[in-house]
Subunit: 138 residues, 2 copies
DNA sequence: TCCTACATTAGACGTTGTCTAAGTCAAGAT
DNA sequence: ATCTTGACTTAGACAACGTCTAATGTAGGA
């Protein structure tokens, strides 16, 4: 976390209270908040923080590769601080919970050359869908 | 296409002019329109069709499994009439063009049991990203 | 042909995200 | 320590996408 702030300072970022608070909210594993959730949690620590600043800061962190955008439901985008380790997502079809997961093998290898239509394929995003333990017993 | 209308009639659907026009717009391969694009094209055939009807009809077709919802960019959802043949999507990072593609192998097999966290995993969605031929030469 | 439950419509409303203009402040220079 | 300046933050308007409601229209069976 302070690693993150160090890196950002190294890139010429001004370290404002607002940015520190957003970074703090995004600290942790299996964190997948929407922008408005980040804003709500940030406002508990710094009540006067504005929505625009949260959106701006999230956008900047995405551009810098420090966090990932995830859209698993076509609704609000979610932000995943675990951007430095390649991973995919497992989503509960009932409650929407998201887990980070690590499939084995080369995901790109599954797409044969004749199915690439001349594209230079660079990345793959995989979303596994199922029912989580909590929802299947309920 | 008329197959589709037959199936829907069999399920108790009223065949209105509006629903026929939406079905007609969604006919074809590699079709991935947004709701508003569907509305615009439908309005060329039936000028008085309303936005609400297009949204309603698309939602019903999704519930019936006749078309698929696709969200590749976190913006507007797109609708894919090719719902009866399992497939994934290849998206151009520059222009947003979407191709239907067919990866080989069992996509679910890539997720080991210890990475399933007790979920009953039922489906996988894969989005390949790259640059299409048109955009890479330009 | 008539009836009625289902379908459609216009437009208000909700959510999510972006933009602008004015004020504020972090951090280097002095 | 204070000054200066350009980057940062703010409130609120605006935009894109989608949903909902109440009034009206109509498909298809009786």
């Amino acid at each position: 976390m302070s690693d993150l702030l160090e890196r950002l300072r190294g890139r010429g970022w001004r370290l404002t209270a607002q940015r520190r608070v957003v970074a703090e909210v995004l600290d942790g594993d299996h964190v997948h908040y929407t922008a408005d959730e980040v804003h709500a949690k940030a406002a508990e620590l710094l009540p006067e923080i504005s929505r625009a600043t949260v959106y701006n800061t999230l956008g900047e962190l995405v551009s810098l590769g420090e966090i990932m955008e995830v859209s698993t439901d076509g609704r609000a985008k979610r932000y995943d601080p675990n951007a430095h380790h390649a991973h995919q997502h497992l989503v509960c079809s009932r409650c929407g919970t998201i887990r980070d997961v690590h499939p084995v093998g080369d995901l790109l290898a599954g797409l044969p050359a004749e199915e690439r239509f001349g594209f230079q394929v660079a990345a793959v995003e995989v979303t596994y869908r199922g029912v989580c333990p909590g929802c299947s017993t309920a």
